[in-house]
């Protein structure tokens, strides 16, 4: 996971800081922010493979709104939802909106790592597919200039 970069969004700073530290200790490029707004702002400057997002955050943007924004601007970024709450409705809504999966707090780091691995694989496969499609396209229409490349 050399180029693996993760953004953790949670308003509970004790949780946030510790998780970030632990992931960084495992050589994962991790950034932690405490609100949805900050997450959007950070993502504008840096590219992340996976976002770990707490669904329930008081004040400002809540998890679902943040998810919507992230998916709008960065459709290839996978989002893992975190919830301390049994609220299925929100979790299911999140899944419908393109979240990769959801996890119930408290989480063990080992479990989280497994999920992160899955998310990264999915993202990777997705990217591969897009790359292949692009190459095919290139072969079929050699003169065409790619416009979608902006994202990358």
């Amino acid at each position: 996971m050399d180029y693996f970069s993760i953004l953790v969004v949670d308003d509970e700073t004790d949780f946030l800081e510790t998780l970030v530290k632990r992931l960084q200790k495992r050589n994962i490029d991790t950034v932690g922010v405490t609100s949805g707004e900050k997450a959007i702002e950070t993502m504008a400057h840096k590219r992340f493979d996976v976002v770990i997002l707490d669904i329930k955050m008081p004040g400002g943007m809540d998890g679902i709104e943040t998810l919507r924004e992230i998916k709008r601007h960065h459709p290839l970024t996978e989002v893992l939802l975190l919830t301390g709450h049994g609220s299925v409705e929100t979790s299911i809504e999140g899944m419908k909106m393109g979240a990769f999966d959801y996890l119930l707090k408290p989480i063990k780091l080992e479990d989280l790592m497994v999920k992160l691995g899955e998310a990264f694989e999915k993202k990777d496969a997705h990217e591969q597919k897009i790359r292949k499609a692009r190459i095919k396209e290139l072969i079929r229409f050699p003169g065409r200039v790619f416009q979608q490349d902006k994202e990358e």
Partner: protein, 553 residues
């Protein structure tokens, strides 16, 4: 208390229904009866009055005939001719041949001497000068006596007419057989109790009455009560019986024809009718009473049953409400607990991470730290499990709909537990109805419910016993009964068994969430789960699952 209310209600309904339905029947019956009796009474009076009048006319005619023939004889024969007994005998024969009822015939001169006589008694030579009737007949020209014994000691009466001949007055006098009179009177008498007789103004019998008296006896009757031509009066006998009297004065106003009758005898047909009426009314009354009581009882029983069902339904609603509120609270509590737990777990994880670093691992107490951290993590895990269990159903509130064979699900669950049951010497008997349809439901959740209930049953029995699992289709539900022969449930347990954290198992053995979660799952499916003690031994859980036919894909 409640029972009293029902009884009271039942009594009120019965009383009012009976009052309202019986009153018109009885009033109608009574009215009909009295109306009819009045009519009959009137008719009876009319009849008896008519008979008295007709019979009096017959008597008048009889007397008039006798008087007329006597007058005719006196007018057509001279005194001289008459006193020849040979001639008188001939005249007597003619009179009896034409009119009859003459007993004897006599001629009396103006001095009162009986000059000639034809008849069974020798009355010749007797003098009547000082007798009252002699004066009367001499003055008025006609006389009819009351009945008397006279010289012959036989009841009789006489008719006498006076004749003037050559400045001389003489009297033709005849005795009339009162038996003939009596025959006419008698013919007016009818029935077993009817009587008919003649009395004079003083109430002396002129003919023999049928009951209680003889000729010349005194009748217990005040003749002044009878005026005009025919009078009908009601008199009560000494023995308390009512009698109807009709009296008709004869033309000479001296004799009164009396007909009497117990009106009841004439009313006998009415009484028969009354018996029928009473019988019909009684039949109606009995019918109404029985019907009213039966229908009221039926209605009250139905009401009682409905009330009971309502009470049970209310209890179930209260239970559902309570559990729903607890569910909401549990979700809130879970959030508040899970967040701190998450922090704790990350912190301990971080500590573990740090312990891995070299300098720490050299530390003397590194092992102690590691152990403590492991313990903390273990207990966080324990707390997490409780919360997860609590939310077990909440996380999956929407049951996934798939094709579920309830019988299969039961069999699978039983297979899962078979070993566990066998170890405890518990026999699980399965009786499944084959025709149960495949339904659209959530198999995992349903299995969770059966698992909870069966585990519960096994735990309740402890060791040695049997469990019966029965599935049946009842209307639009699949009903699964799971009964054990364990000790059954206490009053308190029956009430609280579906509450969260309620457990009868020892500390640490059960969370008290299994049945609560089962209850929630079944309720979410639109079904119902309840429990009751068996009449003999143990308890039975009943799960009702609505039959939802899967959509064809």
């Amino acid at each position: 208390m409640k029972e009293g209310l029902y009884r009271n209600l039942q009594r009120k309904i019965i009383i009012w229904t009976l009052l309202v339905s019986l009153a018109p029947l009885l009033i109608l019956g009574a009215t009909l009866y009295y109306q009819f009796e009045n009519t009959c009474r009137g008719k009876t009076k009319e009849q008896i009055s008519y008979r008295a009048q007709a019979q009096a006319e017959a008597l008048d005619l009889f007397l008039k005939e006798r008087t007329a023939i006597l007058n005719a004889m006196a007018d057509t024969h001279s005194f001289e001719h008459m006193i020849e007994e040979k001639n008188l005998a001939r005249i007597f024969d003619v009179m009896n041949a034409r009119a009859g009822a003459f007993v004897d015939l006599g001629i009396i001169d103006s001095q009162g001497n009986h000059r000639a006589y034809i008849g069974p008694y020798d009355l010749r030579g007797r003098n009547y000068l000082d007798q009252a009737w002699f004066d009367e007949v001499m003055i008025k020209g006609y006389y009819k006596s009351d009945v008397y014994m006279g010289f012959r000691q036989q009841p009789h009466f006489i008719i006498a007419v006076r004749r003037h001949e050559n400045q001389q007055a003489w009297i033709l006098r005849a005795t009339i057989d009162p038996n003939r009179l009596e025959e006419i009177v008698r013919s007016a008498q009818i029935g077993r109790t009817g009587d008919a007789y003649l009395v004079n103004r003083e109430g002396i019998y002129q003919t023999r009455p049928r009951f209680g008296g003889d000729v010349l006896g005194k009748a217990n009757l005040d003749t002044d009560q009878f005026g005009g031509r025919v009078t009908v009066i009601e008199i009560e006998d000494p023995d308390g019986e009512e009698r109807l009297y009709a009296g008709s004065w004869l033309n000479d106003n001296k004799w009164l024809l009396v007909i009497n009758q117990q009106p009841l005898e004439l009313l006998s047909r009415l009484f028969a009718l009354r018996q029928i009426e009473i019988f019909i009314i009684s039949l109606g009354v009995v019918g109404i009473v029985i019907t009213t009581i039966l229908t009221t009882r039926l209605a009250i029983n139905r009401l009682r049953k409905n009330d009971q069902e309502l009470v049970e339904l209310n209890a179930q609603l209260v239970q559902s409400d309570k559990l729903a509120a607890l569910g909401k609270m549990a979700a809130g509590v879970a959030h508040e607990i899970n967040n701190p737990l998450a922090v704790i777990l990350q912190k301990t994880g971080w500590m573990e991470d740090l312990l891995e670093e070299e300098d720490f691992s050299q530390s003397e107490n590194a092992e102690e730290f590691r152990e403590s951290i492991a313990k903390i993590e273990e207990h966080v895990e324990r707390a997490r499990k409780v919360v997860h269990n609590m939310l077990g159903y909440a996380r999956k509130m929407e049951p996934r709909l798939e094709d579920v064979d309830v019988n299969d699900t039961i069999n699978q669950t039983v297979t899962l537990l078979e070993n566990h049951a066998r170890i405890n010497n518990i026999d699980i008997q399965v009786d499944l109805e084959e025709s149960i349809p495949i339904i659209a439901s959530d198999q995992a959740q349903l299995q969770q419910v059966f698992l909870n209930l069966l585990t519960n049953a096994i735990d309740a029995i402890g060791s040695s016993g049997s469990i019966d699992v029965v599935s049946r289709r009842v209307d639009d539900r699949i009903v699964v009964n799971i009964s054990d022969d364990g000790p059954g449930l206490s009053e308190e347990a029956l009430r609280k068994i579906f509450d969260p954290f309620y457990t009868t198992k020892g500390a640490g053995k059960g969370t008290g969430l299994g049945l609560w979660v089962s209850h929630s799952i079944i309720e979410k499916m639109g079904g119902r789960i309840n429990v009751k003690n068996n009449s003999d031994k143990g308890a039975t859980f009943t799960v009702g699952i609505p039959i939802v036919i899967p959509e064809k894909k």
